[in-house]
Symmetry: C2
DNA sequence: TTTAATTGCATTGTCGACAATATAGCTATA
DNA sequence: TATAGCTATATTGTCGACAATGCAATTAAA
């Protein structure tokens, strides 16, 4: 279910993680103000700890802060989600290319094993695959790129942002089985060490997701409060 | 010379900028430890301010921090620089593509004006173009992408890192005139609204830079201290 | 009535002190 | 002598209080 180890040591660490999940999962709504005093009592820690946590959220682009005014959760515009997907297309395309070059045979085996599990679950129950499965697949390819800059950027930056947008804009949508086929083709290209093709397929895969989202946005025109 | 406005308001802001430039310009050497008390007296501010500044540097990937141990400037491995250039290739390629689609006519005119100035300075004095000119060119294209995620990622994240690596690994190298020709071709593609070509040319442009750097790294094998 | 200034309050920014943790040096024991 | 445990010290993490700034309500003047 969860992918990365959880090295939460200091109080600021825990508060950061708690705050982030509370925001990403939607318990703290987009655009709302983050009062330091309020959060301080809510999480039972000092204001300094809250300030540190907020600072980190700012650097994740989850929160915006203005000097002497305060911090707010970012406003969720549909355009912002599109922009995020464009960045994903670029970075994950590169990740797929590098993965084709650098993944170890063991990593490739693991990726295929994962896909077999997904195939089974798609046949049976369908719905579970959705979120976690998709994320797992992408994570492995990102890790497989063996490029630490890329890994950090995606796993502790962009991915949480994307998740927040999708949750709060109500984009839990299906597109399951077709996406699964695309996953298979990408894995195939990586196994064949075909970097060019892997990149192209990954980019196309994410472009499809983006178009899927754009379609949903246009059909249900319900903008959240500014 | 400088590109972005300087919205330094609070003391932590200024300290952050000061610390960053001191690191990027090499006055604080890579791998060295950042003692909070020491920096506190050096910059004449409280430890809390220093901690805030360091936190921001951590989120820029310029500094690494371990809980209860301390913060160090990142170690500069040649591999790290290569990784950075791979990310640049990906993101700036996308930026060029989006710029071809989204740049306003005025922005395109400005870009061409800039190139004419560069042409003149290359003919005359040569050497000036080097750093600032190159950065200016790339900045305008990034801004021209009109993708805020991309803009933020590059201008306040990756670029400072690249600069730090180049300064401290002694990569101030030439490659001036050929790079200028590549700039012209990229600008041409953008003016023609040829997104595909613009992306490809930009990626190739950065790939050349990376190969140039790899070449230098292999010829002069002087690794900094671990 | 409307607008401008002032005053008071709430929130953020900064500071110094205390608590918790890690590193180095010393001591004792095998 | 070497190693394990302990102690002392230095560094980081956390806290509460004070200073500075922004915002809103109230008041005064046109």
């Amino acid at each position: 279910m969860t992918h990365a180890p959880i090295p939460a040591i200091t109080a600021a660490d825990k508060t950061f993680y708690n705050l982030r999940t509370d925001i990403v999962e939607g318990r703290i709504t987009a655009g709302s103000k983050l009062s330091e005093a309020e959060l301080s009592t809510k999480y039972g820690v000092s204001r300094a700890v809250i300030r540190e946590a907020i600072s980190r959220l700012v650097s994740c682009h989850i929160v915006e802060r203005k000097a002497n005014i305060g911090a707010r959760v970012v406003a969720l515009t549909p355009e912002g989600l599109i922009e995020l997907y464009q960045v994903r297309e670029s970075l994950e395309g590169m990740a797929a290319r590098l993965a084709a070059q650098n993944m170890t045979p063991a990593q490739i085996d693991d990726l295929n094993t994962l896909l077999e599990q997904h195939a089974a679950s798609v046949k049976d129950s369908q719905s579970y695959y959705q979120e976690a499965g998709d994320v797992d697949f992408h994570y492995r390819i990102i890790i497989g790129s063996h490029n630490n800059q890329l890994i950090t950027l995606l796993t502790e930056g962009i991915y949480h942002l994307v998740r927040m947008y999708r949750v709060q804009l109500g984009m839990a949508g299906p597109r399951v089985t077709t996406a699964f086929a695309e996953h298979q083709h990408i894995a195939q290209a990586i196994a064949n060490r075909d970097a060019e093709l892997a990149e192209m397929l990954m980019r196309r895969h994410i472009t499809y997701s983006r178009q899927n989202i754009e379609h949903k946005l246009h059909s249900s025109q319900t903008l959240p409060q500014a």
